[in-house]
Symmetry: C2
Subunit: 136 residues, 2 copies
Amino acid sequence: MRYSRDNMAGLLRSHDINPTHQRIEIAYALFSRMEHLSADQVMALVNVHHSETSKATVYNTLSLFLQKGLIREVIVDPNKVFYDPNTRPHHHLYDVESGHLTDVDAEDIHISGLPPLPEGAALEGIDLIVRIRKAG
Amino acid sequence: MRYSRDNMAGLLRSHDINPTHQRIEIAYALFSRMEHLSADQVMALVNVHHSETSKATVYNTLSLFLQKGLIREVIVDPNKVFYDPNTRPHHHLYDVESGHLTDVDAEDIHISGLPPLPEGAALEGIDLIVRIRKAG
DNA sequence: CTAGAGTTTGGACTTTGTCTAATTCGAGAT
DNA sequence: ATCTCGAATTAGACAAAGTCCAAACTCTAG
Ligand SMILES: [Mn+2]
Ligand SMILES: [Mn+2]
Ligand SMILES: [Zn+2]
Ligand SMILES: [Zn+2]
């Protein structure tokens, strides 16, 4: 499925998000590239031509998308969060040198031997991160 | 193995770290508790009675311990890094509500189906994080 | 047009962490 | 015991990522 700016309003509505100009631009930055982006990168992409959004709106909007299940958060770098337009179950390959993140489909991976969850705990998710370093 | 303050100098020397008062106190904060602590928590613990170390020294020392393989870094929270005195291969159970981290021995866990590493890449490590939420 | 809810905004603020120049420490030499 | 000098520590300025808020703007229904 290919995303264009025209898709965005529908995509947002389907997640119960009122599509505004800023929200469409922010969604388009993520979904047209299908890449893992930091808040800073999203803002830079949306504002390349002329200023179209503010820092506060970028953070507000990414939090809203997250809460509505439109995107995911990836925590691999101590300095910044990455936002992930891919919400299918998947894991990550992280190049600690370049900061580049690659998806690894969860269907290909099997994890066994996990301990039983503590009494009354609900599973939020399982994050598997393969950290690599490109030998240079 | 139980750790006392007297062990610390030897532990540091065995990792090629010159044992100073501050380094001993910082190591003791981690190894006497065997808990995952943030830099702030380490500093608070060392300075409970009277001021014994500075922020700069805490960060310098934790980086040194890390580099010398005495401790590990755990990246699960977007806000802060946790330092882990347990360097045996293990994974983590993370309670996203309370921020509490629990170790899961790597020997009990089997992961299969990982993709081959990209050409010329070296494995840095595999981090598995089970995120839970205590229903309440 | 007007009202009100929802959205966006600049900028002050916070937190976590880095950096540096100056000072202090301490083990070995005298 | 004192001196010396590299190693370690420090205060505090700085930076990056993120939060918060009150004011302003926008959009739609009446
Ligand atoms: Mn535009
Ligand atoms: Mn003391
Ligand atoms: Zn991803
Ligand atoms: Zn651990």
